[in-house]
Amino acid sequence: MAKALVVDDSKTMRTILGKMLVGIGYEVCQAGNGREALEVMDREYPDVSLVLADWNMPEMNGLDLIKIVRSNPLYSSMPILMITTRGTEHDVVEALQAKVNSYIMKPFTPQELKEKIEGILKTVQVSAV
């Protein structure tokens, strides 16, 4: 079973995302901020195959997390979905510059999340070919 890492400082969001991901067939691990996420990724290596990260988090935010993940050759092609309340064009471009694969605004439905993940996986497969 594929494993997804949910990174969010909100317990509510971690729980909701966890349930949605289990519903679409993922095993889930969690982190409360970017720094914890890096620890979990190293600990669980190479099992984590998808990262869902919030933007606003204490200690290390989602954007910094993505930049660090992308600079590591082990995770440079890791599919990453940004999940946030920030929705301006400037925010989206900033996340894309950090090399996030896709972007979804809160709140979202399980179906919207599923479609976003499927879209990312399709893009990643195409670029791998």
């Binding site: 317990k11 909701i16 606003n56 946030t84 894309l96 972007y103 979804i104 709140p107 439905t109």
Partner: protein, 202 residues
Amino acid sequence: MLAEKKVNEDAGTTESVITALQKVIMLLDRIKNAIEDSSSKIPNASVQLNTVTQATELATVEILDVLDQMGTKIHMVENGLKEFDGKGIPERQLLMLTGIRQTLAELRENTSNITVALQVQDITAQKIGAANHLIESVRRELLTELNYFETAKKKTDEARRYVEEDKAGPKSFDVNASYMKTPEHQTKIDEVVTAWQENEKK
């Protein structure tokens, strides 16, 4: 005669200045007391706001657990109903079974909708975090002003230390967080993402 008049006038002016100064001192004292009073109440407000966030988070997670249990029970009933499949049961009972299955599907949909709606807790927490940050900024400003009153210096130093030591509550938030996301909003984001990806391919 003129000299006596001048002395009387000077005395009158001095008295007026002293009276005015006394009024200013009283006013400054009242301002100082008001600032001290206001800034001492702010930590309570911050703590209360953080308590609200923690309580709603706890309640939300409990609701999510209950929804999970409901989902499991719905699944069990649906599986139980499969026992009747292909058993040649009468038309009337078949209609009832279809109705029950439909109701179960609606219940499943309802639990899913509640789960989606509960994301409002995270959005509310971010708004409260932003309000708390604003309140703390006001408090810092008030404490800076209080420093002008020498007698209050010790108190402000203590109060400032309290603010800096207070690490409770969310420190990261989106001040514009909103629950009202329109489909058009996500569509615009998707367009930006797609355009970016197309550009990357070139």
